[in-house]
């Protein structure tokens, strides 16, 4: 038998020291912010029925879900996303249209990626869902929250890119093409594959909608895109989508967030899932979106109770992989205690005013001073059996005097 015992599966990872600290700091900052803004944590099971994720017409391919068979022979999956379970909880346990419910989570999802492509299979996602309102204000709130959340993750040079699924949908519906062609057009738009898109739209080339669709692949950038997009939108529905984005932008701008906002009107990933605005977060130096979100008014209906909802998720792994992790933190103080002084040592340890403290495991004072030097500690407190307390402070060369 091959010795797998010392390996971990492809796509998983162990984290140590600085990386764990960075991760915990980011998670704490996010939790503080979500809590402060009135969000409540929601915890759902890691394992759920396979049916739950199929029910929604979710476009995630079957082979990307990890499956487990339970005692009764039913198929379970390690959750591949967190929004679906939250929609399930809402539609089965809350069912309350009178209020907006704000939830947040920081949990792991599991996706069986391609082997040897460097993809991670266990990913920490931090996200929010606002369920129960289709208002402009909830879209506004969720986008501004996305900006704050990426700021809390301590990444620089990021932006949120917004699109509107209604625009593509309304243009596409005018072609009255079959599902297969529609999917082809969607895929080429997503890939910004201009040449192939033109080929697919060739049979419709005399229609204004087809000409607008070919232009969508290049409709990304700053605020000016909205102006350009006006020329594409000639019917009421697509004009409304652009009005909506315009209004969103002017509110975000008035809140001083304009620098973080861009647009991509060719944003059509998972178009059957999103029903209104869609957005992605990008950061300098990270080759994939760090945040994905949008409005998904149809999702809870899959579980028997229709409610509008919006939210986003941050891929914590991709952020961690690109943040330089701090060095191991050094203890400010090391406490050396002799027989009978353990209680006093614990008292010093518990006093948070002393900063980061460690107990010495050495039996001699020399040993402790040596340890303090290796660990770069600033101070050594010695509690001797005779009841004395001595303090050694490191000079600039790290020597204890």
């Amino acid at each position: 038998m091959k010795p797998y015992a010392i390996h971990i599966p492809n796509g998983t990872r162990d984290a140590l020291y600085g990386e764990c600290r960075t991760r915990r700091n980011i998670e704490n900052a996010l939790v503080d912010m979500f809590e402060q803004r009135g969000f409540s944590e929601i915890i759902t099971p890691t394992l759920e029925y396979y049916d739950t994720f199929v029910r929604t017409g979710n476009t995630l391919p079957e082979e990307e879900m990890y499956k487990v068979i339970d005692r009764d022979g039913r198929i379970l999956v390690m959750r591949p996303d967190l929004t679906t379970p939250i929609a399930r909880v809402y539609a089965t346990k809350i069912r309350d249209v009178s209020e907006l419910h704000r939830f947040y989570y920081i949990r792991n999802i599991f996706r069986s990626g391609h082997s040897l492509k460097g993809q991670e299979t266990e990913i920490t996602q931090a996200g929010v869902e606002l369920i129960g309102s289709n208002s402009f204000k909830s879209d506004l709130e969720v986008i501004s929250l996305a900006v704050s959340a990426l700021k809390a993750c301590d990444i620089e040079d990021f932006h949120i890119e917004i699109g509107h699924s209604g625009l593509f949908r309304s243009l596409l519906s005018q072609l009255e093409c079959c599902d297969e062609t529609a999917e082809e057009i969607r895929r080429y738009t997503e890939q910004k594959n201009f040449a192939a898109l033109c080929d697919s739209l060739e049979p419709y080339s005399d229609m204004a909608a087809a000409q607008s669709l070919t232009k969508l692949t290049r409709m990304f950038g700053g605020e000016e895109i909205l102006g350009e997009a006006r020329s594409l939108a000639y019917d009421r529905e697509s004009n409304e989508c652009i009005d909506y984005l315009d209004l969103l932008y002017s509110e975000l701008k008035s809140a001083g967030l304009a620098n973080y906002i861009r647009f991509d009107l060719g944003l059509v990933n998972r178009i059957n899932y999103y029903t209104g605005i869609v957005f992605l977060g990008y950061s300098e130096g990270i080759g994939e979106p760090v945040l994905t979100g949008g409005r998904y008014d149809g999702l809870t209906a899959a579980f028997g109770f229709e409610t509008p909802a919006t939210g986003f998720a941050i891929n914590i792994n991709s952020i961690i992989n690109h943040i330089s992790t701090p060095q191991t933190e050094v203890p400010a103080t090391i406490i050396h205690y002799e027989t009978g002084r353990f209680g006093d040592a614990l008292q010093i340890l518990e006093d948070t005013d002393n900063g980061k403290c460690e107990l010495s495991y050495c039996s001699s004072i020399e040993g402790t001073l040596d340890l303090a030097k290796r660990r770069n500690a600033k101070r050594v407190i010695v509690l001797s059996s005779s009841g004395q307390r001595k303090e050694f402070v490191a000079n600039s060369d790290g020597v204890f005097l």
Binding site: Q191, K192, I286, G287, E288
Partner: protein, 208 residues
């Protein structure tokens, strides 16, 4: 301004890509020197050129360590996942075909047929679309031999003129798809370096 990194497929596509760049007024003189360097810095453009194998172009672009890449559609169909495929560069044109021994009736058999190919994913997708159940065997080179030796009933392979097929007694029975070199862009880089990338794209597009 960031320096962009572009990964070129070594070999046949590399030559045509450099010709295209020069036609677009991009000085590629460092690539004309006979060196074993793998990364070349262009003197007049904020562009670094990397010469790598076709599959690696996709890997580097998907991970975002290269912003752009030039790679054949054949490699994209077999190994591609998520990036923008923004230009069809036209060169490196060939096609994927299904070919059998001359005179063989592929569809009249009462058993699953066996397909030899260097491109198992392309073959699998094709037969799924055709609604046929087939047994696919991966062969690393000269797949034409497999039907001749009786290992497979047919091959899915890439052909330019069809001469190799003909000389080995095979005939194309169906066209699967057209293949040529493509310019691909990392999804995040496209958004972050928009102006720079679109300028480069337009520059190439204008001489295509």
């Amino acid at each position: 301004m960031n320096r962009l990194k572009i990964a070129l497929t070594k070999g046949r596509l590399e030559k045509s890509a450099i010709e295209l760049f020069e036609k677009a007024g991009i000085d590629c003189s460092p690539l004309r020197e006979d060196t074993r360097r793998l990364i070349h810095t262009l003197p007049t453009e904020p562009l670094d050129i990397l010469l790598v194998k076709a599959q690696d172009v996709i890997t580097y672009v998907e991970h975002g360590v290269c912003d752009l890449g030039i790679v054949g559609k054949d490699t994209i169909l077999e190994h591609g996942n998520s990036f923008f495929e923004i230009l069809d560069l036209g060169f490196g044109a060939c096609r994927f075909v299904l070919a059998t021994k001359k005179g063989e009736d592929l569809y009249g058999k009462y058993r699953d047929i066996r397909i030899a190919t260097k491109y198992p994913k392309v073959a699998k997708n094709y037969f799924e679309k055709m609604g046929m159940n087939v047994d696919i065997i991966k062969i690393e080179g000269s797949v034409e031999i497999a039907p001749l030796l009786g290992l497979a009933d047919a091959v899915v392979d890439i052909v330019e003129t069809g001469t190799t097929l003909k000389e080995n007694g095979l005939q194309a029975v169906d066209d699967i798809s057209r293949v040529s070199a493509r310019l691909i862009v990392n999804i995040a880089s496209m958004k972050i370096n928009r102006t720079q990338i679109m300028e480069f794209v337009d520059k190439l597009d204008s001489v295509l």
